[in-house]
Symmetry: D2
Amino acid sequence: MIIVMKPEATTAELEAVKNKITDAGLNFHLSQGSSRTIVGVIGDKKKIATLQMNSFGGVEKTVSITEKYKLVSRDFKKEDSIIDVNGVKIGGGHLAIMSGPCAVESKEQLLEAAKAVKACGAQFLRGGAFKPRTSPYDFQGLAEEGLKMLREVADEVGLNVVTEIVNINDLDMICKYADMLQIGARNMQNFQLLKEVGHTNKPVLLKRGLSATISEWLNAAEYIASGGNYNIVLCERGIRTYETFTRNTLDLSAVAAVKELSHLPIIVDPSHGTGRWQMVRPMARAAIAAGADGLMIEVHPHPEVALSDGDQSLKPDNFAVVMQEVRQIAQMMGKTL
Amino acid sequence: MIIVMKPEATTAELEAVKNKITDAGLNFHLSQGSSRTIVGVIGDKKKIATLQMNSFGGVEKTVSITEKYKLVSRDFKKEDSIIDVNGVKIGGGHLAIMSGPCAVESKEQLLEAAKAVKACGAQFLRGGAFKPRTSPYDFQGLAEEGLKMLREVADEVGLNVVTEIVNINDLDMICKYADMLQIGARNMQNFQLLKEVGHTNKPVLLKRGLSATISEWLNAAEYIASGGNYNIVLCERGIRTYETFTRNTLDLSAVAAVKELSHLPIIVDPSHGTGRWQMVRPMARAAIAAGADGLMIEVHPHPEVALSDGDQSLKPDNFAVVMQEVRQIAQMMGKTL
Amino acid sequence: MIIVMKPEATTAELEAVKNKITDAGLNFHLSQGSSRTIVGVIGDKKKIATLQMNSFGGVEKTVSITEKYKLVSRDFKKEDSIIDVNGVKIGGGHLAIMSGPCAVESKEQLLEAAKAVKACGAQFLRGGAFKPRTSPYDFQGLAEEGLKMLREVADEVGLNVVTEIVNINDLDMICKYADMLQIGARNMQNFQLLKEVGHTNKPVLLKRGLSATISEWLNAAEYIASGGNYNIVLCERGIRTYETFTRNTLDLSAVAAVKELSHLPIIVDPSHGTGRWQMVRPMARAAIAAGADGLMIEVHPHPEVALSDGDQSLKPDNFAVVMQEVRQIAQMMGKTL
Amino acid sequence: MIIVMKPEATTAELEAVKNKITDAGLNFHLSQGSSRTIVGVIGDKKKIATLQMNSFGGVEKTVSITEKYKLVSRDFKKEDSIIDVNGVKIGGGHLAIMSGPCAVESKEQLLEAAKAVKACGAQFLRGGAFKPRTSPYDFQGLAEEGLKMLREVADEVGLNVVTEIVNINDLDMICKYADMLQIGARNMQNFQLLKEVGHTNKPVLLKRGLSATISEWLNAAEYIASGGNYNIVLCERGIRTYETFTRNTLDLSAVAAVKELSHLPIIVDPSHGTGRWQMVRPMARAAIAAGADGLMIEVHPHPEVALSDGDQSLKPDNFAVVMQEVRQIAQMMGKTL
């Protein structure tokens, strides 16, 4: 941490700052600039994190130098992590495709979707049994009944199940049916949920929060990793900006950022990321070209009767076109699908 | 809902749209503009909410006309709601002041803070026993031990306790110690938590999510109200924007917006809203002048040794100055404190 | 500037960084942390501004410590600046009220508005003769004809004229008619215009850009000041955020921020800041309570026939109510109006 | 336009709204919903644009149905526009690559950069002679001297010149040297400049404003087109969001949006869009995969001594790698480069 003193800071104020640092078991370096004195704090990250220097007299501002997350950082592990879900690899050159309806609605719907996405090469069936919805009057999901359908259909067709958990009390139940746990954007900083999931060894798909910085997202992943569960895949799904044409603004530069800062795989969800089915195809191509390790795409056999998010769901034939183009770019990128 | 057809939409496409609407038990009005046909959907809000019209051929876009929330809306109840917490009224001309440290750290710290804020006229002691922190390595709170301290100190000094709940499994325990439950910004869309809290009759302080729209916030309140608990106070605490000088951008226009759209009381938290203790004083004045029903302000006897958010905590003497000014504006606004 | 080296930076890379700094005529301090070396650059701000250190091998990131603006900073001048416009003082305890229609439409409209705002205590008549409009098909203003009306009406009623300049070639013409030049949000970084205006001694009202940081705004003011014109008043008018209920998000914390960082006066425009006339009253009160040195408020005698921004214009009787309340808060704040 | 009446609107208020519409020479359709009456306004777009209905009693809100821009819309012209700059085609399957240093610094620097980018297949030499800089103390460009260098070097190497115009008074001079005029992000709503440029027939590269919506951007293009100049290429260069890891957030979904709404070509600038040279390569690939018609990439032979934006400039050898990958994706997309 860097502490910038005000130009008018007194010697006594500077002394108080120095004492606070050494009292905390830390060291410092002084740097006397042309108008300001700058104090560099040196020592253990966790101790530095507890300093509250802005409340000291004479302090203009403080600047953090290093990130708090460690286990998920590229500094900690240089090579790409590869997450294995029942033999399907994600990361390190292996692309994962997770597809299916937004919400599980019926076994017929799910089976039709599952067969379609399997035929196109998807390895994961997605579908929500517990839906976090803005309004209490919107469809909330089929709960355990939906989980059962997911498992049965996935087994029948030969896919892995990835599904969202929204309540820590559902953890055991969902683990019984799912191969991978999804933590949605709204729960990215539900720290209780992150901690609980960190104590399992289930693979986790951690979506980026609606307005989470890259740093907050990696710190959320650190909550899971620090519990002992390293099987984490990140998922960019659009951030909130002032633009209203799209539901969210898909931030593909987050793919490059995560690759630089962390060893974890990252996939992209262009369906939620744009909220418009017409945009899924170009954004899916762009995501893979940006270096993403996979895609999560909503596919619904009949989006016009979907109970949630039909506006952003692809029909199976459109999905087939997307997958064909994605394959070509994957090949160019030297990745397997 | 308004459905805007594309200029090139065919008659068959329009027919399909009309059929979907009537099949859903709804009615429509057609409006033939100079370049586009517009279809107005009429009928029950909840049925309209289930339509997925953007996936229909020929549809350019859809526009929502009404909000989904009902119980918390001004349409539903014209007069201001007044929430009563053990005889302390919030709303309808009654201001509430909630103060204390960000986190409960020790009984000494809490008692010193409580006496100071009580002396200045606060009616609520705030303090976190469970802290949602960005990093797993930050101080996470004293848990039940902290709740006990809150209760003891509040009883000793004569204050109500408002404290944050972050885990649905802690509900019974927290209800034992607290007079009012706080749902923090990160949990504003933790719908499981909202539902559970909606089944109690404890007063709830619902903070606005970091990047929640006014509409999403009122829908979150609707989750609580639809469970039967109408004792809801909203709290504006700053939203995320591009500006970095402040920790968040305090949106005081949200006070006026909520007053227009809802009958619920709304208070303002200038401490989190700015992240800088120097700004708490002017923003506290401005909040009351904007029409807020109260304030939540962090006060710490020794912010330079605080375990969290010392940067935004006032010292007791500064708080006294803030309260004096707030009282003057309250008087001008015809409100009691 | 602080340069943070990567953990794996080599000695040669560090040497290259050090050489670059000394070659630029600057000095440095090294600070060896637990995992990273940090290089503090010391010397002339302008020289530091020219360093391009992120492109050096081994550099992780750079952090700016000081702002580039100087003349407008509080460091440079401790006491509040007071801007004098024909005897009307702005800042340092003197409030200025600037009111009138969004656009000048006719002499009748303007005269009716001017009489109304004068009667309520406004000292400035505002009104656009050149309107920057999103669409080329929107009303663009009456140009010089509008300026003449402004001057005649202001002289008749006894007000100062503040009006927007959008084209550097209009400078001489506008200076002939106006007492104060307004630079609008869209032109806050029209640096040519800032430079030209900086070479006059006309008072300038510099609105904050739609998504300008406080720092960029003060740097824009520095463009004017560095040309020799110190007669600058800042105007907060709302920033762009994700919220759609209001046209912009009025950032009243910017008032407190500017008071901390600069000696320049700052006023607030709640009309553009919210885009809703219903919100002007509470936000005007809040602005003065936050410490603003004045207000810019749109008043139109007949907003329902306005050629621009009628949605956010007050009728004269509403304006009278606003002014009455503002006066009370001004008194409480110890300010004159 | 749709006008939504309040539930409590009176018959007289509705009559006043209807009269206003018919008085403006427009028609309307009434739609009586379950709780609200909705008025659809029908007729000429420009007349509708002048209505100020929110200031009418009983009006809850208004909703725009159609965009104001026309000439640049896909409705107006179905097929992709192809812009021809001295025989180099942009759009409709033809990719354009514009490269060179951020600012023109010296003839040696420019020539070295120009040869490198030409060798890799770029058709345009970019370089600023007039630099819009946040601080007045930053390097402002070499002005006409820089333009001469651009022309000489481009002629020597065989490239077209694209360079930024920041002042309408420089138009004739810049047209003498440049093949394409760039309007930068800060000037996207400098409507005087747009109008002037619209009266020439020079090809224009119109960058998206820092926080411009797609709609505002296309309206800015409409300013140019409505002056008679249809030779417009759009350029996405990142928008301002809360994320601080990148300088801006590159919005690649804007490429898909523009393709849907307009017939104009669109290119992408990953250098400004990210502000980090490490991200240019993945984002350049992603842009082409998203459907962009070209790229603008900063290349500097020695970024560590650049006078501006060296942090985001590629060295020639990195640029060569980018171009190789871009070519592969272009081929897959069926585009020529």
